[in-house]
């Protein structure tokens, strides 16, 4: 049977992708950011930890979805997903290979479990998805695993609540673990941490709140799922509300993680606080 073995959480700042693509990852500004991910990259290189499939929760930044269609939760069921041109040309990263069989299995299962996902069969993926891939896998010729994208609306207010995201994560776990093929599946939650990108309050960072959120996400996920929209926006910046996406991944993991394999926090990456966790389920 397929099994969710681990969750990886990370910010997905576009400037991180640009730094890597332009060969700046060893510059003094970026070196501490990339160094923070080295233990995770090493862990992922071990055969037993390498996922067959990553269920990757991210948000589209007005790339695949303009204001014409704004799905709250959209699951990518295509064979492959091309890196998008976000206004300066597509990132030079491999095409993302999907897993249509598992993706449609999950879609059918969670919709029957009362989560009304939008099914997407054609979609380009932006930095929200490709930057986490680059952070974990570096710059390979081809990505080492298949990916099922779940795009969550966090552009138009209101996004789904943290509570709803957490419950969806639980339904996704149930769906994955009813899939017959033996697959090592990861679930990744991306975005955040504290940042605000617009208006005179741009540049807001709240280290104390971010670290308390990491504590809560690890040790009290039920409590973390009850953080409301207003608290995210007020304390972690208007765009910090992206953190609801971490709750989808957290919902698919054990309430008490078997291992906290990695925890990392760094300020700044461009406008944003970078947070990163690896949590493992009991084997």
């Amino acid at each position: 049977m397929a099994k969710i073995t681990a969750g990886i959480f990370t910010s997905h700042v576009p400037a991180i992708g640009a730094a890597l693509d332009l060969g700046k990852s060893t510059d003094s500004y970026w070196q501490p950011v990339f160094a923070g991910y080295e233990p995770t990259k090493a862990w992922l290189r071990e055969r037993e930890h390498r996922p067959d499939v990553v269920f990757l929760v991210y948000n589209d930044h007005a790339t695949a979805f303009s204001l014409d269609f704004i799905p709250t939760f959209a699951i990518g069921c295509a064979d492959q997903f091309k890196p998008a041109d976000e206004g300066w040309g597509a990132r030079p990263v491999p095409v993302v290979q999907g897993h249509p069989l598992l993706a449609t299995h999950i879609a059918q299962s969670v919709i029957q479990d009362d989560f009304d996902l939008t099914v997407v069969n054609k979609m380009d993926v932006d930095h929200g998805l490709t930057v986490p891939m680059s952070l974990m896998f570096g710059q390979p010729e081809a990505w080492p695993c298949r990916v099922i994208p779940l795009a969550v609306n966090v552009v138009l207010y209101p996004p789904p609540s943290g509570r709803r995201c957490y419950q969806l994560g639980r339904a996704i776990r149930k769906a994955v673990e009813s899939y017959e093929e033996d697959l090592n599946v990861h679930i990744w939650g991306t975005g955040g941490m504290s940042h605000q990108l617009h208006g005179p309050r741009a540049g807001l960072i709240n280290k104390e709140w971010d670290n308390a959120f990491l504590d809560k996400l690890i040790n009290d996920p039920e409590g973390a799922s009850k953080v409301d929209h207003l608290e995210y926006m007020r304390e972690a910046g208007a765009e910090g509300i992206e953190l609801v996406m971490w709750l989808v991944a957290r919902g698919a993991l054990d309430p008490a993680p078997a291992h906290v394999t990695r925890r990392f926090y760094h300020v700044p990456a461009s406008n944003t606080a970078v947070g990163h966790l690896v949590l493992e389920n009991a084997r």
Binding site: G87, W88, H198, G203
Partner: protein, 131 residues
């Protein structure tokens, strides 16, 4: 009954809610068009003529021409969409963010290196001392 908007007291922040979405639909869709290289070229060749192809208000067009991003946000622009204008101009996201704060890009970058803008005094306008 009107919708409850408990988020309007945050200083220097405009939440992109459904009212802002309606206000900014064409402004944001114009920004989406800049994801195509040919449209970027046409916009750069004659900005005013390109903007006139869109059902935007005159105020929105003038805000784009002036690259006044705070005004664009006020008029319904969303930052992820507006970022396409900066990308078309070859400017970094940090440049765009700085332009909204009244700081130079260097001052803003230094603030970020120093740990970012403090939350203290920035949670709510009610929190700020008057004077």
């Amino acid at each position: 009954m009107s919708l409850d908007k408990p988020y309007t007291d945050m200083p220097g922040t405009t939440v992109f809610d459904t009212d802002q979405m309606r206000r900014g639909y064409w402004l944001n869709q114009f920004c989406v068009s800049l994801m195509k290289a040919e449209n970027r070229e046409r916009f750069k060749a004659n900005e005013r003529a390109y903007l006139d192809e869109w059902q935007m208000s005159e105020e929105q067009k003038l805000a784009v021409l002036a690259r006044d991003l705070n005004k664009c946000v006020e008029l319904g622009g969303n930052i992820y969409f507006l970022a396409r204008i900066g990308a078309t101009d070859g400017k970094s996201f940090q440049y765009m963010a700085a332009s909204m704060t009244g700081m130079t890009q260097e001052e803003y970058a230094n603030m970020m290196k120093g740990g970012g803008r403090s939350i203290e005094g920035n949670r709510s306008r009610k929190e700020k001392p008057r004077g």
